[in-house]
Every structure is written in structure tokens, then in C-alpha cells.
Amino acid sequence: MEMDFEQVFRDMLAAARDRLDARGPQARNYLREVMEQQKDVLARLARDRVSGALSDEDLRMELEAVRADVTVALEGLEVIARETAESAWNAAVKVLLEALTAAI
């Protein structure tokens, strides 16, 4: 049986795109989650410094800690990106193998 590779490749791209579309919102949701968390912490820091509950040194130390926390928290985006890329690639390969199975 003949195999139209151009068509197969278009189907592979479509399968990969479906997976990217399905997983795209995950990265946005995670980023929003991290930003909301830090908003609460920063609001509390500002309020407590203004009220005098925190000293300048406390504020400096906590801000430095928040910066380090956010840096590692955002690495979570890499996990989502890798999982999305893996899923898209595997979906495309699956289409190719199905086409090969039908052609052989």
C-alpha cells in the first residue's frame, strides 16, 4: 500500500498541536498560582513593616528569602514544558507508526 508521507506529516503536526493546546493552560495556571502566593506574602511584609511589627533587617532578610523561593518555584514551569513537549512528540510518533502499520 502507498504511503502519502506529506499527509502523514500533516497528521503528525496536528496530533502534536492537539497535545500542546491541551497542556498550554497548565503553565499559565502554575504561573498564576506562584504569583498569587507571592502577592499574599509581599502584602503581609508591607503591612507588618508599616505597622512596625517587622524591622528593616527583618524586611531585608524576608525579601531575600522570597526572591530565592520564587526562583526555584518557577523551575516548576520547566517540568510542565518538558511533559508537554514529550507528550506532543509521542503523539506525532504514534501517528507515524499507525501510518506505517497500515502501509506495510
Binding site: 502566593q37 503581609r44 507588618d48 523561593d69 516548576g76 517540568v79 510542565i80 514529550e86 507528550s87 502499520t101
Partner: protein, 154 residues
């Protein structure tokens, strides 16, 4: 079809299927960290230990929070965090979880060092520190849940 031809045809089909399965295995990507139930469970255990520590802290009046009274509590949380870091290290492609677990440990050491140096721990600082630790643990739990494969199975 003679029996030998039929056998040859079946043999050919089986070989083709095996070849395709082999090609599929070679071509399939595996560069994302997999979901690890042990890490997910340890995140919950660490969350519980942190919550317990801060509950005990708040049960003590702000002026009576000398470090010595809380040293065993610091150790309990440190053990849970070390176990979490170990669990995250065991898995391949798991840099994000490893770094988050290390950051938790560094946070906890800084908090303990400050408490030891000042020999006191104010409510305002305790509230912020607990929230920061909770946030990191929430993020680790989220990352673990994102590692779960979706129903499409790939």
C-alpha cells in the same frame, strides 16, 4: 494457501509488528520526570511537620519562645525535609523538585539560625515564614500533580 506459505505470512506479520513496536519504543520520548507517589506523600508529611511546629510556637507566649524549647521541633522538621530532598533526588529529570527541596532545607536552616541568634521568634515573622514554607510545599505538590500523565497516556 499451503500451510508453509501461511506460516511464512504469519511469521512476516509478527516480525513486522515486532519491528514497529521496536521502532515505537526507540522513537518515543522520555525526557520529562515521572510522577513519584513517594515524593508526593513526603510533601504531605513535611507540610504536617511544619504545621505542627508553628502550632506549638503559637501556643507559647511571644516573649517565652527561647530557642532551646524549640530545638527538638526544628530537628523533627529537618528530618522530614531531608527525607523529601532524598526522595526528589532519586528520580531522573527531576531538577525542579530537587531544587525546591534544597531551598526548603536552606529556608529552614536560616529560620533556625535566626531563632537561635535572637533567642526569640515574633508572631509577624512566624506568620510570614510559615506562609513561605507552605507556598514552596504547595508548589512541590503542584509540580508532582503536573507530572501525572493525562488520560491520553503519553
Amino acid at each position: 494457501m499451503p500451510r508453509t506459505d501461511r506460516m511464512r505470512a504469519v511469521h512476516g506479520c509478527v516480525c513486522t509488528l515486532l519491528l514497529l513496536a521496536f521502532l515505537g519504543g526507540c522513537a518515543a520520548a522520555d525526557f520529562a520526570p515521572g510522577y513519584d507517589p513517594q515524593t508526593a506523600t513526603q510533601v504531605a508529611a513535611t507540610y504536617k511537620a511544619v504545621t505542627r511546629f508553628y502550632m506549638r510556637l503559637r501556643e507559647t507566649a511571644e516573649g517565652e519562645r527561647a530557642y532551646a524549647g524549640f530545638a527538638p521541633g526544628y530537628d523533627e522538621v529537618a528530618v522530614e525535609m531531608k527525607t523529601l530532598a532524598w526522595s526528589a533526588r532519586r528520580q531522573a529529570h527531576n531538577r525542579a523538585s530537587r531544587d525546591m527541596a534544597r531551598r526548603l532545607q536552606a529556608d529552614w536552616r536560616e529560620i533556625e539560625a535566626r531563632h537561635r541568634k535572637r533567642d526569640s521568634y515574633a508572631d509577624a515573622l512566624a506568620d510570614i515564614d510559615e506562609q513561605r514554607l507552605d507556598n514552596l510545599l504547595d508548589d512541590m505538590a503542584s509540580v508532582e500533580s503536573y507530572k501525572r500523565k493525562l488520560p491520553d497516556g503519553d
